[in-house]
Symmetry: C2
Subunit: 527 residues, 2 copies
């Protein structure tokens, strides 16, 4: 199936979703809008795909094509967000804020502070940090000043912060958007602008104590957010290098061999094998020996087995990696996450800057026919990077770091797909309604009393709204109570207090209605 086919199928499916929503008896406008947005994004992606097929290879020519595409003389604005980006409406944001809150509480439970860095960096700060992916960096136009680029991740800016500021130890989290000119895959929730949620520990400490805490943090977050069963794969860059050395890979090909192994989560071994031999020029015998190692995964018993391995045990870096792994698995057992982790020799991770332990958390999906568990994708990843901060320190002083990045966008997608019904998007506790015309000044007065008392309150911005419309608004926005004003009641010094869900109404005195409302709100808050 080509990308075009996939997209067309997705558009058809999404079209059905929208039609269904639109034809439903009770129209949920927010939801419809949300789904229409997704449909438009898919259509835009298809359009882009056709444009790209037709695009000439050079940048200059592309710009010319783009200028033509803008149809000179047509003064209509393109009604879209930039390619690979989207708006997040109130419902999407409510879900995102809820998940981010959960993630932050875990970070805070582990004593983390937070910092923030600018969205763009001097281009040279980013240069040479991301290997082949550097081409995905968004550059800013040279408008006669510094050469700038949008951040590609939060790790390099963090290393710059630590190095530049002469910080020698910090445990921080950073939640912010990063930018990659990747091929957006909106069907899979992959965008060019997306959140990263990073937790890192910088400082010179004893082996594996901060590293084990990062694993614990990942396990706590995935459990708290509730995305189902998962496993945190663990490996070690020194062990990988030792393994390559033991198999006969020349030292200058460690990193490229690593990036082939990194594909094993999505690509079958046969294909990776072919790439290593044909594209990377490794000997068949070498590659087949690698093949034997990378199928191995397990726990402390695998550490013992590898430490006893004739080839590996001769390679110092392999032994260092194994010593770390043994300690890490011991600490994981104390943190009661032994059943959540798997020492996995196929885990490699793409980035160049890792120097020690590497992690990757994957969700466990359905079983394949052969009974093996298959994974539905990575939801967190990280590792140790001891040599990055020094690049940014005036005296080249290193500060060892270890950290993990939570793939919140994937968590958002999973939770969004599971959500049934409408997510509440406001926190309004009471709606002040008029039973008939001519009450807007009284409404404002009551509203003001509520606000001054700290109660979350709203009303219609129309002078004389219909009562039914006001109550429907409460139902649509899931506002729990309404105060209904009427001349008859006001003359008697009372207002009606209506519980929206049950439609029960009761008269309460004007001078005690706030206390009464507060009492009810606190009762329902503790239910």
């Amino acid at each position: 199936m080509t990308a075009k086919d996939t997209l067309e199928a997705a558009i058809t499916a999404q079209g059905d979703v929208v039609r269904k929503l639109k034809s439903a008896a009770t129209k949920d406008k927010a939801k419809i809008n949300e789904e229409v947005q997704k449909l438009l994004a898919l259509k835009e992606q298809l359009k882009q795909l056709s444009v790209e097929d037709a695009e000439p290879a050079t940048e200059g020519a592309t710009a010319a094509a783009a200028a033509v595409a803008a149809t000179p003389g047509n003064r209509n604005l393109s009604l879209k967000t930039a390619k690979g980006t989207r708006d997040y409406g109130p419902e999407a944001m409510a879900l995102r804020l809820r998940v981010l809150d959960q993630v932050v509480s875990v970070f805070r439970k582990h004593g983390a502070e937070t910092i923030d860095t600018p969205v763009f960096e001097l281009k040279e700060v980013l240069t040479g940090k991301y290997g082949e992916d550097s081409k995905l960096i968004y550059d800013l136009k040279d408008q006669g000043g510094e050469i700038l680029a949008l951040r590609y991740d939060l790790t390099v800016p963090f290393a710059r912060y630590v190095g530049m500021g002469n910080v020698f130890n910090i445990k921080r989290y950073h939640i912010a958007k990063v930018y990659r000119r990747d091929n957006p895959q909106i069907t899979r929730g992959r965008y060019r602008e997306f959140y990263q949620c990073d937790f890192d520990i910088a400082g010179t400490y004893d082996p594996m104590l901060p590293d084990a805490e990062c694993v614990k943090v990942v396990c706590e977050i995935l459990t708290t957010v509730g995305v189902g069963p998962f496993v945190v794969k663990l490996n070690h860059r020194k062990l990988l290098d030792g393994m390559f050395e033991a198999c006969g890979v020349p030292a200058d090909k460690f990193r490229t061999a690593c990036s082939s192994v990194d594909k094993l989560d999505k690509t079958p071994w046969e294909e990776v094998r072919r790439e290593m031999i044909e594209e990377k020029g490794l000997a068949e015998a070498t590659v087949d020996r690698i093949g034997e190692y990378v199928t191995l995964h397990g726990g402390p018993e695998l550490v013992d087995r590898l430490a006893a391995d004739e080839q590996l045990s001769r390679i110092p870096s392999a032994l260092e990696g194994l010593a770390d792994m043994r300690l890490l698995l011991e600490y994981c057992a104390i943190f009661r996450v032994a059943d959540r982790v798997s020492f996995d020799l196929s885990l490699a991770r793409g980035l160049d800057y890792y120097t020690g332990v590497i992690y990757e958390a994957v969700l466990l999906g359905d079983s394949k026919p052969d009974g093996d568990e298959i994974t539905v994708g990575s939801v967190a990843g990280g590792g140790r990077y001891d040599n990055l901060v020094g690049m940014f320190n005036p005296k080249r002083k290193q500060v060892p770091c270890v950290g993990v990045s939570i793939g919140v966008e994937r968590l958002f997608s999973i939770l969004e797909a599971r959500t049934t019904g409408k997510t509440r998007t406001n926190e309004t506790e009471v709606y002040v309604a008029s039973a008939h015309k001519g009450l807007h000044l009284k409404r404002l007065e009551i509203l003001n009393q509520l606000w001054e008392a700290g109660v979350k309150a709203e009303h219609s911005y129309k002078l004389n709204p219909k009562l039914l419309a006001q109550l429907q608004h409460c139902e649509e926005y899931q506002i729990p109570y309404a105060i209904i004003l009427g001349d008859g009641e006001l003359a008697r010094g009372v207002v009606k207090l209506r519980e929206i869900a049950t439609r029960k109404e009761e008269e309460v005195a004007l001078d005690t209605f706030i206390d009464e409302l507060r009492r009810r709100l606190s009762v329902s808050a503790t239910v």
Copy 2:
């Protein structure tokens, strides 16, 4: 005083701050770092200033100069953030999050939802919205795709969201960073990357009901955040236009006259007068008539006076503006903010898109010798813009909007300057310490129990840290309790629970220490 003088003075002053901190008996490293960052930013600004003085006028030549400045052969990275931007360390972030939390609770008290839009937009979305300030927009490099630019504010993206999504009513807040290639004035807290905090109400409603709520929101926020006395100046674009018409300004010069009047908060009338006559080519008599109006400010009595004004009362748009102002002041009185607002004919606001009421909140500073109150700067501003959304709607359908933007960066600066002592940057409740060597496994076990129980807990990442160092860490980070492990106590099934502030220690049983700790934490939380 030139910009250079100001900067040099600021650098000297900031240098003193840093020296003082460094020589203090108890070194607060985080604070020192924070202040060193500021010093470096100032020095960088001074450097930029000299570079700019020397910069040739054309972009190409500037790029060449920049390339030379990068000193070929020198492989050292520039250790800095981009011009006009800065990192925010844990202390700055703790303050920012606290203030933003307060702002959000007011928005939520008024029933607002939140949305998010991408950090960049298609350039054409931003074109023609900001008048002369358009030159301050950051463009992205053309990397062979769409022509993009960083957002300049949150209002235009909001209008695009509403128009494009066929949203017909929404009350939303949006807190995000915006980007302006302005001359950064770090001494005055003005950066090129800064937060905006917007609250807007879109929908077709009755006059002044949403507008008055925006004024109320501003008053609540400034009161909650606690930045001292303030006044919200109010005016109306239709009244301004009517006033210009009455004074004899030709219709095509309304906007340019408006932007001259807008300078009155910083510039004396004589200078604005000169600009209007000499640069904008208005007749002297016209300008002097304007001069009489723009000194007026007051309350409802001023509305009456202007409605009776012979010239103004002949101009329909002036009367429309006055009718709105009368209603707005009436609603403000019901919302009990009459003493916080001032109908002020000198308020104009720079942006082109306003069509009705405009606001600006200013803090009131010390008195000038003549007894008049002077203002220390604008901390919120906004207004009604009824014709912006239509530009982004496929069918050109308008959705009237009114909103306000809180100048949180200025609030941060004011509160930061007032902060004495160290701001807490983490939420750790208990630190697990070892009294002597060999206890790290037990520490991990206790830590894990605390985490599983939801207690915020930390320890040293060293195997055998010194007890004194561990307790000092608690004091430095203001962690309220420590659990101290020792072989003697553990053998008896107890641990020491130490209250950091009082240094009081007590033995608690290993099987109840979490309950005991929780009890103490909840007591101190309610104090």
